[in-house]
């Protein structure tokens, strides 16, 4: 009855909004991002068909089999159909997740390339801080007792350590385009999460753990980074940006930072 057309209209509207990309991902800025979108589309098409067919079948049954006298067809089921749709579902669902394994593996099972630029990420209630090791490729020693946010030392860098002399810190994450980057994620207090939509990547930042996370951004631009794990009352304000620069501009920025020290 009335429920059937309501289900059908809702189904068509929902399928349309997904198909028309009315609200959608931002364009990807990396090869990983493009692989991600392909797996998403595969999943969307398969689930979209299942969604459409299931809701339509439900609506159809509501209309076709309404009671107008007589008896229903007495059956306890159909084992062949059960076997068929059970195996089809299993193949589809497990097949989908296996297809996505390559993407997961490329993010988490492979180490960052040897020439990846290491950058330390420090999340704390409610700000982001980033540190570059500088030309000596060594991060200077840090000590929690030396942390001084107001005094410009969010990492607690020990200035007595010679390796810290060329460490560059920043409130936003600048990286050169087209080069592999290896982030080392730290938290000072509670769990946070580093998320860049355009990279199609996120990772929880867990206190007590040092989590490596590598990526390569190919398209220059400025991309917002929203903290993505509830971290307290400032969670919705814990924002920074990923600034992808052409390599020459990045080098210029780095030289300026080192000169200013």
């Amino acid at each position: 009855m009335l429920l059937a057309p309501i289900i059908w209209v809702l189904t068509v509207i929902i399928c349309y909004i997904f198909a028309a990309h009315t609200w959608w991902f931002p364009p990807p800025i990396s090869a990983h991002g493009m692989d991600y979108d392909a797996q998403f589309t595969r999943t969307l098409v398969i689930t979209g068909v299942i969604f459409f067919v299931a809701q339509f079948a439900l609506g159809y049954a509501i209309i076709k089999f309404r009671d107008n006298g007589g008896r229903a067809s007495y059956t306890h089921g159909n084992n062949k159909m059960e076997a068929l749709w059970t195996s089809a579902t299993a193949v589809l669902f497990i097949g989908l997740v296996l297809m996505g394994t390559k993407i997961w593996a490329s993010v988490h099972f492979t180490e960052a390339p040897a020439d990846a630029m290491p950058i330390e990420v420090l999340g704390k209630q409610f700000a982001w801080n980033f540190r570059y090791p500088g030309p000596d490729a060594k991060f200077g020693h840090t000590d929690i007792h030396m942390v001084n946010d107001q005094g410009g030392n969010p990492f607690g860098i020990d200035s007595k350590d010679p390796a810290s002399k060329d460490d560059i810190t920043s409130g936003s994450l600048r990286v050169p385009a087209g080069k592999p980057i290896k982030l080392i994620l730290h938290s000072q207090d509670v769990i946070h999460n580093f998320f860049v939509r355009e990279l199609r990547l996120k990772q929880d930042i867990v206190p007590g753990m040092e989590i490596p996370f590598h990526f390569q951004a190919d398209t220059p631009g400025t991309y917002e980074v929203p903290c993505s794990e509830l971290c307290g009352l400032g969670h919705h304000q814990m924002r920074t940006t990923l600034i992808v620069l052409p390599p020459a501009d990045f080098d210029k920025w780095m030289k300026e930072q080192l000169a200013a020290k």
Partner: protein, 588 residues
């Protein structure tokens, strides 16, 4: 299978014994139902407040200042107040609504009757389980009224945020402690209830009521009880460890070297991930606890009101068992981004896809039940049909989230919020509405109003789709969850019209629930008198008066001759054969 034990049952005397500290599973079931109803109204109010704040974060509301002089100074909700409302919304809904009404409410009332027993196996334990739940609710609500207010760490309460005390945020003092204590008390109540359900189902089935003749509702209540027995025990342990970290200086969940609000924390050696493993080892079975009884009700109603046997009873039982078993093996899919071993993600994701299979079987079988049927569109049936549609919608988004590769974007976005609300916040709730309209005549001896029922159904059905479908679009756009407002990010500006739409849909749908409340309370007093079997259904509750006598079967012991779904049997004189009917057609 042992015969039903005699309880030497006398009718209870006196108001306290009959209606307060009752040992009667029927009264206890109704008590749980109304505890759940009270809780859902609190949870619903919290969600409407949340949705208001998300789209109007700068609008002054003098009522807020009256309610929360500290948390809403100047009539504007602070982010910490928002997060505490959100925490309590999730907690109250999951524990005091979804875990109580379908299982402890309807299950308590109808499990003994559907299997032909006089009462639960342990009536005193049953009474204690209700009053323990009641105490847990009082403690939970008390968190709103203590200094610092309710906790803000979400219903998942991840440490270190939940373990460090007020230094990590307002509400993290006494509020968080009361939250943990309440949940611990709730765990005890659930364990008591689980023992009762399992013992009752194994031991008190009437003669002829084999396991494979039980209504599917009984199967779901049994498996749900097993999930509860195993899952809540782990949650209780986790809660104890968290309290120790907060109060006794232990460091189960807190590593060394934390600096919080400029104070160095005196802990070392703990792992925040340990909490997540313990919590989700409980938390995943918990969501199946929330949905399985609703699936049982859906099966029951779809068969009854299609006048046709359930399609594939054996497959349905298998699916319930598979969901229960696999439900314990997939908890890691809540932790793909957590920092746990990424290799474990492969195992958890394959298992998660596997659990999609029995859910799909159930959905196909529900549609198969309708196919070739003669559908009677009672309000109860409408909610069962709505359940199927909502379960499909909610389940589909699980196919995305179960893949760690895709979770790299969707974790902690509104895509997740949309997914679990569709399944728990809507499908499960529709299962409760379906159960209410179906069993109300038996419980109260009166019929609910069908016109109001259908109006409530249609408006709610459209309303919930309007609220929760857009959350998936927000998720695709990357909108994070648990944000008090969205004013700090450029990319979220174009998403505000979606949020506004959802907020207005929420106001509308919340208001529509008044129709249900009017129907419920008016019908209790003034509904048309119900007969013994108004739906012409086959299961044992429809063989006794509406409402039933205190000992259900009036001292008689029912004998069962056939399965629960003998509708439309060719050659039978009516289009249904009761389970206790010994008549001519061969029994199954």
């Amino acid at each position: 299978m042992s015969s039903p034990t005699a309880h030497a049952h006398h009718a209870p005397q006196g108001f306290i014994r009959k209606y307060v500290f009752s040992l009667d599973h029927k009264v206890i079931g109704i008590q749980y139902y109304f505890l759940g109803l009270f809780s859902v109204l609190i949870g619903l109010t919290l969600s409407v407040l949340m949705r208001f704040h998300m789209v109007y974060p700068d609008v002054k509301v003098s009522l807020f200042e009256k309610l929360w002089p500290v948390g809403a100074q100047g009539g504007i909700m602070t982010p910490e107040l928002y997060l505490s409302l959100m925490t309590m919304h999730g907690t109250i809904m999951v524990f005091f609504v979804l875990t109580t009404v379908p299982q402890s409410g309807f299950g308590n009332y109808f499990l003994p009757i559907q299997i032909g027993a006089e009462d639960m196996a342990f009536p005193v334990l049953n009474m204690m389980s209700f009053w323990t739940t009641f105490v847990a609710l009082v403690v939970m609500v008390a968190a709103f009224f203590v200094k610092g207010g309710a906790p803000l760490a979400g219903w998942t309460g991840y440490p270190p945020l939940s373990a460090l005390g007020p230094v990590s945020g307002p509400g993290e003092g006494t509020g968080q402690t009361l939250w943990i204590v309440s949940i611990a008390i709730f765990c005890f109540a659930s364990l008591m209830g689980a023992i009762n359900f399992i013992a009752t189902t194994i031991d008190l089935r009437a003669k002829g009521m084999t396991l494979m003749r039980m209504p599917l509702t009984c199967w779901t209540w049994l498996v749900t009880a097993i999930l509860g027995l195993l899952g809540f025990a782990v949650l209780l342990s986790a809660g104890v460890l968290l309290v120790l970290d907060r109060e006794a200086g232990t460091s189960f969940f807190i590593p060394a070297g934390l600096l919080v609000s400029d104070q160095i924390q005196n802990h070392k050696g703990g792992s925040p991930l340990l909490w997540q493993h313990l919590f989700w080892f409980f938390g995943h079975p918990e969501v199946y606890i929330a949905i399985l009884p609703g699936m049982g009700v859906a099966s029951q109603l779809l068969s009854t009101f299609s006048r046709k046997p359930i399609f594939g009873y054996r497959a349905m039982v298998f699916a319930i068992l598979a969901i229960g078993f696999l439900g314990f093996l997939v908890w890691g899919h809540h932790m793909f981004m957590s920092g746990m071993s990424p290799y474990s993600a492969l195992a958890f994701s394959v298992l998660t896809m596997c659990i999609g299979v029995p859910s799909a079987i159930k959905t196909f079988n529900w549609i198969g039940t309708l196919w070739g049927g003669k559908i009677r569109f009672t309000t109860a049936m409408m909610f069962a049909l709505g359940f199927v549609s909502l379960f499909v919608s909610g389940g589909i988004s699980g196919i995305f989230l179960g893949q760690p590769a895709l979770d790299l974007y969707f974790h902690d976005t509104y895509f997740v919020v949309g997914h679990f609300h569709m399944i728990m916040g809507v499908a499960a709730i529709f299962g409760m509405f379906a159960g209410t309209f179906y069993w109300f005549p038996k419980m109260f001896g009166r019929m609910m109003n069908e016109t109001l029922g259908k109006l409530h159904f249609y408006l709610s059905f459209i309303g919930v789709y309007a609220i929760f479908t857009p959350m998936h679009f927000l998720g695709v756009a990357g909108n994070p969850r648990r944000y008090a407002d969205f004013t700090n990010y450029d990319f979220m500006n174009p998403l505000m019209p979606i949020h506004k739409f959802m907020t207005h849909a929420a106001y509308f749908t919340a208001a529509v629930q008044i129709i249900f409340l009017i129907n419920l309370f008016w019908s209790i007093k003034k509904g048309a008198r119900a007969t013994e079997n108004p739906w012409e259904a086959t299961t044992l509750e429809w063989t006794i008066p509406s409402p039933p006598p205190f000992d259900n079967f009036g001292g008689k012991h029912p004998v069962v001759y056939r399965g629960a779904y003998e509708y439309g049997v060719p050659g039978a004189d009516k289009d249904y054969i009761m389970q206790n009917d010994p008549a001519q057609t061969p029994a199954h």
